[in-house]
C-alpha cells in the first residue's frame, strides 16, 4: 500500500509566493502594555488584539490602487502579486507610534527596494535604501500612545506646582530650605524635648547680647532718646 501513497510531510511556516511581493515585520512591540481599561474593568473591542488595530496600506502611485494587508499576531504582514511600479507603504497603529511609518517602495521584476519617506519632505530618503525582496521590511516600535492624561493630582504634585514649587524642584534649594526651616523651628522644638538645654541656650544667648551691649559705645546725649517706655 505504501507504494500507492507517497507521503512527504513538509513543515513550512512561510508563504508560497507565486509572484513578486514582500513581507513586513513590526518589531520591539512590548509584550505587556498597562492598559487603563483593565483597571476600570471595561471591555474595549480588540483591546488586547493590537495587530487588528494596525492598518497597513500599500498605494500604487501610478494607478491610485490601494491594497490593504492584515497584520498577524506576530506583527507581520505581507503583500503578494505586485506589479512593477512605485508604491507608498503607510503603516498606522491605533496604539503605537513607530519610528517610521511611511515608506516609498520601488518594485521591478526582480527586486523590491524600500526607502523612508518622511512627512513633509520633497523626496524620500535615498540613503535609507533597504532591499526587501527576500528579507522582511522591519518597522521599529517607538512608544505606546497615551489616551488619557495623568491629572497630577497627588499631594506631591500639588506642592511642586504651587508657588514654592521651584524650591522643591531643585535639590540645593530644598536642602537650604529644610536647614533654614529646621533652624527656625529648633528652639521651639527644643523647649518640648529638653527644656533645661533650651533654658541654658537662652541664658547663653542673653549673656551674649549683654556683652554686645556693654561693648557697644553709649549713645550721645544730643541724640534723641526715642520712644523709651517704662517696663512694668
Amino acid at each position: 500500500m505504501t507504494r500507492l501513497i507517497n507521503i512527504i510531510t513538509v513543515l513550512f511556516s512561510s508563504v508560497l509566493v507565486s509572484a513578486i511581493g514582500f513581507q513586513g515585520q513590526i518589531i520591539n512591540i512590548p509584550k505587556q502594555v498597562n492598559e487603563l481599561y483593565h483597571e476600570k474593568n471595561v471591555v474595549v473591542v480588540n483591546g488586547d488584539n493590537y495587530p487588528a488595530r494596525i492598518k497597513v496600506d500599500l498605494y500604487n502611485l501610478e494607478s491610485d490602487e490601494k491594497t490593504t494587508s492584515l497584520v498577524q499576531q506576530d506583527y507581520s504582514f505581507k503583500f503578494q502579486d505586485l506589479k512593477a511600479g512605485i508604491y507608498e507603504l503607510i503603516v498606522n497603529s491605533y496604539d503605537f507610534e513607530f519610528y517610521t511609518n511611511r515608506y516609498r517602495i520601488l518594485v521591478n521584476d526582480e527586486i523590491i527596494l524600500a526607502f523612508e519617506d518622511r512627512l513633509g519632505e520633497n523626496s524620500y530618503n535615498k540613503t535609507s535604501e533597504v532591499n526587501i525582496t527576500k528579507t522582511p521590511l522591519t518597522i521599529n516600535f517607538k512608544y505606546t500612545k497615551q489616551f488619557y492624561e495623568n491629572p497630577q493630582g497627588s499631594i506631591g504634585d500639588w506642592f511642586l506646582n504651587g508657588p514654592f514649587g521651584f524650591i522643591f524642584r531643585n535639590r540645593v534649594y530644598t536642602i537650604i530650605f529644610t536647614v533654614m526651616m529646621g533652624l527656625s523651628v529648633a528652639p521651639y522644638v527644643l523647649k518640648w524635648i529638653n527644656p533645661e538645654l533650651a533654658k541654658e541656650l537662652q541664658e547663653i544667648q542673653v549673656q551674649a547680647s549683654k556683652q554686645t551691649l556693654e561693648k557697644a559705645p553709649a549713645p550721645s546725649k544730643s541724640q534723641p532718646q526715642g520712644n523709651i517706655r517704662k517696663r512694668k
Binding site: M1, T2, I5, I7, I8, T9, V10, L11, F12, S13, V15, L16, S18, E35, L36, Y37, K40, V42, V43, V44, V45, N46, G47, N49, A52, R53, K55, D57, Y59, L61, D64, T68, L70, Q72, Q73, D74, K78, I90, N92, S93, Y94, L119, G120, E121, N122, K145, Q146, F147, Y148, E149, N150, P151, G153, I155, W158, G226, N227, I228, R229, R231
Partner: protein, 853 residues
C-alpha cells in the same frame, strides 16, 4: 525651532481636550459596537464567532454581556466559509489561497497561505485537514499554525473523525487513513457505496446501511439494517433514528437492535450534542419547547432507564443550540438568529440566565441627524401651571408656589438618593441628552437613539424605500420615502402627517419650516419672511427665491462652472458667532467677513478651484486655484464653513503623498455704513488669507464644532483613517500664523494663541480615546446648554459613539475631577496656620508696643 513649535502646538491641542484618568471610561463616553445581522455563527471557546453583514468577523461574549469583544475586517468575508474548532476559527474562500486562522477568545490572527485555494476544512482535534482546489491535502496545527503538506493522489472529499489521540480520515469515500504520533499509522481501501455520515468508526450510507470499522482486521464490517431509516451515530455502540414524533435508540453491538423509543413533539428538529464527557439529544419544537435526553449514563450502563429527560421552555423558537459550560456546570445555550434566547442548566433544565441581544439599528445610507429631544409633557405642564397662576389672591399664589417648590425639592432628593448628582434628569436638563435619528432599512423603522445610551423611540414599520430625513422644527421630523413624505413627532416617533411624494428627493432647511426639492422646490408651509435657497447641479449652482406668504420657489440666478463640482458647503443656520472681529495690538480691529449666505464651491477639471459665491445675489466674490501639477484624490475632498472661515481637506498623490488641510480666513473692511437691503450692501471680501497644513494621517470627513452662543473657540473635528476622531483647534488652523520671520511681541498681541507656522500638524489625542471607530460614518455635533460643551456623536454601521467636546476647556462646568478634597485640605491648613500663628501675632504686636525702634 520646528520641534519646539510642534511641542507647543501639541501642548496647546492637548490642553484643548485633555481627558484625565479619572474621566476615562465614564458615562461621558458611550459606545455601541454593532454587528448587524450575523449570516453564520458558531460557539467556540465560550465565544460566539460570527460573520456580520459588514464583512466583519466578530467575537461576541454571548454568555456575558452579549457584546462584541473583538472584530476583524476580512475582505470577501460574506462569501467565505467558516469552520469552527474548539479554540480556533478558520475562514477560507475559494478565490484566495489564504486561510485565516483566528483565535476565538481574542481574535488573534494567523494567515496560512497554500499553493491553491482551500475548498474544504475538517477538524481533527489538534489541527485541521485542508483540501485545496488542486486536490492536495494538508494539515494545519492549531497551536503553531504550521502546515504539513501530505502528498496523496488527487483528493476530492475528506471525512474526518477524531478521538483526540488519533484521527481517521476517509479520502474520496474509498480510502481510510489513520493518523497518530505525527504519521500515518495505517491505510486501507474499501468500498461501501455513497457515505452519508462517518463517526466513531461507524459509516452510515445514503441508504442507511451501517458499516463498523474493525481496526484489528483493518476493514469495515457491514451490520445488516433493513428496519431503521434516517440514522445518526451516537457512539461506536449506538445509533439513533429520528422520526416525526419519536427517536429510536438503536444498538449495533452485534446486530441492529431497538433499545428504546423516546417520544417527542411532532415535527421537532432533532440534534445530537456532544462534549468529551456528555452526549445529549435535543428535540426542538416550533413553539419553543425543547425535549432534552441526557444519554451520558445510558452509554455507560446501556440501561434505557438511565436516560434522563427534561423539558426546556422558551418564549419563542430558537434554531441554534450549543453545549457549553457555565460556572463549571454543563449548560445548554439556545439562541435564535438575532442572538436572543437563554442559557439553561443541563442538570435540571432550569433557566440560568436569559440571553438578550443589543439593538442593531443603523442606517445603510449614513443618513443620521442629531436633534434636541422635545420638552417632556411634564415640563410643558409645569410651565403652563406657572403661567396660569391666579393672580387675584396672594395667599393662594404663595401656597401654590410653596407646594410646587416642596414637590420639586422632594423629587430632587429622591433622584439624588437614587442616582447621585449625575442622574439622567440632570443630563437632560442641561442638554447633554440628544437624539440621533435615522431610518433603519433592515428593520424598516425610524429610530431615535439617545446620546447617553439606549433607544428613545422606534416608529411603526414603514414599508417603503427611504430617501431622505431632516428636522422640520423643534417638535417635528420630516422624511421622504418613495411613495410618501411623512412628518413625525420627534418626542415619540408617531406619524403626524402623510403627504404624497411628487418626485421629491431632497429636504432643504428653511427658517421655521422645510422645503421639498424635486423637479421643483416647494415650502411645506408658507412663512412670513422671504426665503433664499441654493440648488446644486453637476456643474452649476442656482439661486431660488420664495417670497413671503408663497410656497413655490422661483429661480433667480444660475452660475455655471467650467468644471465639475466636487463638493460645496454653506454656513449651518444654527451656527452662532459672538465676535465680529479680532482686536489687534495697535488697538484697531480686524473685522471678520461674516456673510451667512456665503456658499463655497470646490470644482475640479485640471486643477482644484475654490469659488466663493453670495447665495442671494449669485455674485462671485472670490476664486482661487491650486497648481495643475497637484494630483488629487477627488473622493477625499471635504469642506466645512463656519464663522468667517472655510476649511477643506483633500489627499494629494503627487507631487507629494500627503493629507492636506487648507484654511481660508475672510476679513472685511471696517463697517462704514449699513444698508437694509442685501442687494445694496457691498458684499466684497476685503482680504482673503490662506494657509495649507499637512495632517499625518488621511482624513475621511470633517465638521465644525458648535456651541450655544458661539463664544467658545471653534474646532475642526475630523475622522482619520485609523478610526480616531480628532479635534484640531481653529487657532491652530490659522491663516495668520507667521511663516517668514521670528514672532514679535506685537504678533502675540495680534491674535489668540499665536504660534509660529509649521505646516505639519501634530496629531492630537483622539476624542474616542481607546475606542477605535470604523471611519465610514457621519460626525454629528449639537451644543448643550453650557457654552463650553457640545455633544459629539459618530454613527455608522459598525459603531455608535457619543461623547462631549470642550474646545475652550470646561470653563462653566465644575468637572468631576475637581479636587474638592484638596480645597478642603487647603481650608483646614489655613485655619490651623491661623490658630498657630495667632499667639505669635499677638506677642509680636505686644512687643512692638514695648521695644525701641
Amino acid at each position: 525651532m520646528k520641534a519646539l513649535s510642534s511641542i507647543l502646538i501639541l501642548s496647546l491641542i492637548s490642553f484643548v481636550h485633555a481627558v484625565l484618568l479619572s474621566d476615562a471610561f465614564t458615562s461621558k463616553e458611550i459606545i455601541n459596537y454593532l454587528y448587524g445581522q450575523l449570516t453564520q455563527f458558531e460557539l467556540s471557546n465560550n465565544t460566539l464567532v460570527g460573520v456580520s453583514t459588514s464583512d466583519q468577523l466578530v467575537g461576541i461574549d454571548v454568555k456575558g454581556d452579549n457584546a462584541v469583544h473583538w472584530q476583524i475586517h476580512i475582505h470577501n468575508l460574506g462569501s467565505s466559509k467558516l469552520s469552527t474548532t474548539k479554540e480556533k476559527v478558520y475562514i477560507y474562500n475559494e478565490e484566495s489561497h489564504d486561510i485565516y486562522q483566528v483565535d476565538s477568545k481574542n481574535g488573534a490572527l494567523n494567515i496560512v497561505t497554500l499553493s491553491a485555494s482551500p475548498v474544504h476544512i475538517a477538524d481533527a482535534g489538534q489541527g485541521v485537514f485542508v483540501v485545496d482546489s488542486s486536490g492536495r491535502l494538508a494539515y494545519i496545527d492549531h497551536a503553531t499554525g504550521s502546515v504539513s503538506k501530505l502528498e496523496l493522489e488527487v483528493v476530492e472529499t475528506i471525512r474526518v473523525d477524531s478521538n483526540g489521540r488519533f484521527a481517521y480520515v476517509i479520502v474520496n469515500d474509498s480510502r481510510l487513513l489513520k493518523f497518530g504520533k505525527g504519521r500515518v499509522l495505517f491505510d486501507i481501501e474499501f468500498s461501501v457505496g455513497s457515505i452519508k455520515y462517518f463517526k466513531s468508526g461507524i459509516i452510515i450510507t445514503e441508504n442507511d446501511q451501517v458499516f463498523k470499522l474493525n481496526e484489528r482486521k483493518k476493514k469495515f464490517t457491514r451490520i445488516e439494517n433493513d428496519s431503521f431509516k434516517n440514522l445518526q451515530v451516537i457512539n461506536e455502540n449506538f445509533l439513533y433514528s429520528s422520526l416525526d414524533d419519536s427517536i429510536k435508540i438503536i444498538s449495533i453491538t452485534k446486530k441492529v437492535e431497538l433499545v428504546d423509543t423516546l417520544h417527542i413533539k411532532s415535527a421537532s428538529r432533532v440534534e445530537l450534542l456532544n462534549s468529551p464527557l456528555n452526549d445529549l439529544i435535543v428535540a426542538s419544537s416550533s413553539i419553543g419547547v425543547k425535549d432534552v435526553f441526557d444519554l451520558t449514563d445510558f452509554l455507560i450502563t446501556k440501561n434505557p432507564n438511565s436516560i434522563k429527560k427534561f423539558t426546556i421552555k422558551l418564549s419563542h423558537s430558537t434554531s441554534h443550540d450549543f453545549l457549553t459550560v457555565h460556572e463549571d456546570k454543563l449548560a445548554l445555550l439556545s439562541i435564535d438568529n438575532e442572538l436572543n434566547g437563554g442559557l439553561f442548566s443541563l442538570f435540571d433544565g432550569q433557566l440560568i440566565k436569559p440571553i438578550t441581544s443589543h439593538y442593531q439599528y443603523y442606517s445603510n445610507s449614513n443618513s443620521y441627524i442629531i436633534i434636541n429631544p422635545p420638552e417632556s409633557q411634564q415640563t410643558i405642564h409645569q410651565v403652563h401651571e406657572i403661567l396660569e397662576v391666579d393672580n387675584k389672591y396672594i395667599l393662594t399664589n404663595w401656597l401654590t408656589r410653596v407646594k410646587r417648590h416642596l414637590a420639586e425639592l422632594g423629587k430632587f432628593i429622591v433622584s439624588l438618593a437614587k442616582n447621585g448628582i449625575t442622574s439622567n434628569e440632570s443630563s437632560e436638563d442641561f442638554g447633554f441628552t440628544k437624539y440621533i435619528v435615522f431610518f433603519d432599512d433592515s428593520h424598516q423603522k425610524l429610530v431615535a437613539i439617545k446620546s447617553t445610551g439606549g433607544i428613545a423611540w422606534e416608529s411603526v414599520p414603514i414599508h417603503d424605500e427611504f430617501i431622505s430625513l431632516d428636522q422640520l422644527d423643534q417638535d417635528r421630523l420630516i422624511a421622504i420615502f418613495h411613495g410618501f413624505v411623512l412628518v413625525f413627532d420627534s418626542s415619540d416617533g408617531s406619524i403626524i402627517e402623510r403627504i404624497r411624494n411628487e418626485n421629491y428627493t431632497e429636504i432643504v432647511k428653511v427658517r421655521g419650516t422645510a422645503a421639498l426639492r424635486g423637479e421643483s422646490t416647494i415650502l411645506l408651509n408658507s412663512v412670513s419672511e422671504d426665503s433664499f435657497l441654493v440648488e446644486k447641479g453637476e456643474n452649476y449652482i442656482s439661486g431660488q427665491f420664495i417670497p413671503h406668504g408663497e410656497v413655490t420657489a422661483k429661480q433667480t440666478w444660475k452660475f455655471r462652472f467650467g468644471e465639475t463640482i466636487v463638493n460645496m458647503a454653506s454656513i449651518d443656520p444654527d451656527s452662532t458667532t459672538s465676535s465680529v472681529g479680532i482686536p489687534l495690538a495697535d488697538k484697531s480691529v480686524l473685522y471678520k467677513y461674516l456673510n451667512p449666505n456665503l456658499v463655497s464651491v470646490l470644482t475640479f477639471d485640471k486643477q482644484l478651484k475654490l469659488y466663493l459665491i453670495d447665495g442671494i445675489t449669485g455674485n462671485l466674490l472670490h476664486v482661487s486655484a491650486h497648481p495643475e501639477e497637484e494630483i488629487i484624490d477627488l473622493s477625499s475632498v471635504k469642506i466645512v464653513m463656519d464663522d468667517n472661515w472655510i476649511v477643506y481637506s483633500y489627499f494629494i498623490n503627487s507631487p507629494r503623498f500627503e493629507q492636506r488641510i487648507n484654511v481660508v480666513d475672510l476679513f472685511d473692511k471696517p463697517p462704514m455704513q449699513t444698508s437694509n437691503s442685501v442687494f445694496d450692501r457691498d458684499l466684497s471680501i476685503d482680504s482673503v488669507k490662506t494657509k495649507s497644513f499637512i495632517n499625518p494621517e488621511r482624513i475621511l470627513d470633517i465638521a465644525s464644532s458648535k456651541t450655544i452662543y458661539g463664544i467658545t473657540t471653534k474646532s475642526i473635528i475630523a475622522i482619520t483613517e485609523s478610526g480616531q476622531l480628532i479635534e484640531i483647534p481653529k487657532f491652530v488652523l490659522n491663516s495668520r500664523r507667521i511663516d517668514d520671520r521670528v514672532l514679535t511681541r506685537q504678533d502675540y498681541s495680534n491674535d489668540f494663541s499665536v504660534i509660529p507656522y509649521d505646516p505639519i500638524l501634530a496629531q492630537p489625542p483622539a476624542i474616542n480615546h481607546k475606542y477605535q471607530l470604523d471611519p465610514t460614518g457621519k460626525i454629528l455635533i449639537k451644543p448643550t446648554r453650557f457654552e463650553s460643551t457640545s455633544v459629539i456623536c459618530y454613527f455608522n454601521k459598525c459603531n455608535q459613539f457619543c461623547s462631549v467636546i470642550q474646545p475652550s476647556k470646561s470653563f462653566d462646568i465644575l468637572s468631576g475631577s475637581f479636587a474638592k478634597g484638596k480645597l478642603t485640605i487647603t481650608v483646614i491648613l489655613l485655619f490651623i496656620v491661623f490658630v498657630i500663628t495667632k499667639p505669635f501675632v499677638f506677642n509680636k504686636k505686644l512687643n512692638r508696643q514695648w521695644l525701641d525702634r
